[in-house]
Chain length 324, copies 2
């Protein structure tokens, strides 16, 4: 996956001619990533990742994403750093697609999340939020509360094929979440998609995992900082059997708060933010499930995984029950 | 694609503990390759490719493949070299699959084949044949003439769904090819799948392409050496519009023969070997097309591309018409 657009060698060489990163040594498609085409690129100047932005990405938003990554990297966050060409531009065209070269990050994403990953994750997320505080770009969260009604509408005709009665449940949850959605919480630049495959780890000198890099900022936006925590609680704290691992949640939240303590309103809002995050991933998965041709190349992720998470968070009464 | 089996970090670290190649630095799925799961692996000792052999590969055959690669590399061919662990073994188990680590090869495979690629290709193929001459392993070509009848049988019930009348054409071609198949030509170790995505190139000092590596030996076998040439004529010499590029064929064959001249019987047999190679790729594609669930993750390649090639080669009267 994640190679939707093939790049001819001539086009690649011409493209690299616009950069000062040396000559081409190797070029391989990367299997990871779903939205864009990614290539591992090695030149005499080092290792890079070349991304071709595919149709789901709005070209007008790329300067926000690339600018944010450059800003965060300049403040010491280990994230892909866009490489500027000789003309000073980081964004150009290749094979009919917007394209950019970023630095390569070392590390391995955890195929199985262990409790020891959670404190480093919390620290990395808080550092990301702190480093983004003075970034001037703004991007609304297209998949935030305002984006859910259109997604629901788009899923309505076929959603119940996935599970009878699903759409009625989602309509009810949607209304309840919107009614309880917090208004006045701290806002900043958030990653908004910080799943395990977007966080690389390497062992420190004692063999404990530390975060070596955070990747894939193409859902990043300007929204409630605590929503990023809610995404992580969804993405990192459920066991394969569906159980919520409170130990993992507490470890992440405690580490996060050593850098940015949550204010009481943020902590109190975590349960509904978690419900919103669960609904967001449920809806995009359901959209893909009902709109992707069955023979397409993309993996269709199970929407019902997030229905179970949504139900779990809907019965949570206090933030303490999910680690805050 | 080409990541069918996920490897947990713990399992990967334990696996690497059996080698003297240093500590884990990075680990990414590679999008290329269809049969197996491939990962780009970086350790403090260098860059490698980790392959997990999936269900199409017979474990009993892996020692032949790995032994051949080691043999060819020892004779100077740029191909993946299996890395032996501390116990001297190159083949072990990971995540429930047979697995091996090989060296990483620099270079880029040509997304668009140019005439300048063909002489280096011919030289690389002849060198592969020469380097394999004293390898003692033997593996029958499972997709050679003896393998076609079972494939035809397996495609019979649904093959005509791809094109009405297809199976009758293939039966006729199959009979004609078997009747004309040469018996007593030089035999050796052949790659048997030398498509452009299995040959890496880098520019030489003058900017001309040279072969920097040949990969994916998992169809390699002991068969007619000239059959490998026939595979390349199928895989490298047709233009996107379906036309056969005689200039490319001649360049490859001339370069090949500077190292291993074809004997007259081999040259004369090339047209039927090309028909056989076209039938082989047609049949495996047709098998995949008719046996792969429509929603599977693998790309189903068009079988009819090889019907057009088969028809082209069927009307060739002399080897000179295809470059020999």
């Amino acid at each position: 996956m994640a190679v939707y657009t093939e790049v001819s060698d001539e086009a690649l060489r011409a493209f690299l001619g616009d950069y000062d990163i040396g000559g081409l040594i190797a070029f391989r498609g990367i299997a990871e990533g779903v939205e864009n085409s990614n290539y591992a690129l090695r030149t005499t100047g080092g290792d890079f990742v070349l991304t071709l932005y595919e149709k789901r990405v709005d070209r007008a938003e790329l300067p926000y994403f690339l600018g944010l990554m450059e800003h965060l990297a300049a403040r010491g966050l280990a994230c892909p750093t866009p490489v500027r060409g000789r003309d000073g531009q980081a964004l150009r065209d290749l094979a009919g697609r917007p394209a950019a070269i970023c630095t390569f990050l070392e590390g391995v994403w955890p195929r199985r999340v262990r409790p020891e990953h959670m404190a480093p994750l919390g620290l990395a997320l808080a550092r990301l939020h702190a480093a983004g505080a003075d970034f001037v770009g703004r991007r609304p969260n297209a998949l935030g509360p305002a984006g859910w009604a259109p997604l629901l509408e788009a899923c309505r005709s076929r959603g119940d094929e996935v599970q009878p009665g699903l759409m009625a449940q989602l309509e009810a949850q949607h209304a309840a979440i919107l009614a309880a959605w917090p208004g006045a919480l701290p806002v900043g630049q958030i990653h908004a998609d910080l799943f395990p495959d977007n966080v690389f780890f390497l062992p420190d000198a004692e063999g404990r995992p530390r975060v070596s890099g955070v990747i894939d900022f193409y859902f990043a936006c300007t929204d409630l900082l605590a929503y990023d925590i809610a995404v992580c609680l969804n993405a990192w704290c459920f066991e394969p059997d569906g159980g919520f691992n409170l130990t993992k949640a507490r470890a992440m939240l405690a580490a996060y708060q050593t850098i940015r303590p949550l204010d009481p309103a943020e902590a109190a809002a975590l349960p509904v933010l978690c419900r919103g995050a669960a609904l967001r991933f449920l809806l995009t998965r359901l959209f893909d499930w009902t709109h992707t041709p069955a023979d397409a190349l993309v993996t269709r992720k199970d929407p019902l995984e997030y229905l179970r998470k949504l139900r779990f968070f809907a019965q949570v009464e206090t933030a303490g029950a999910i680690g805050a």
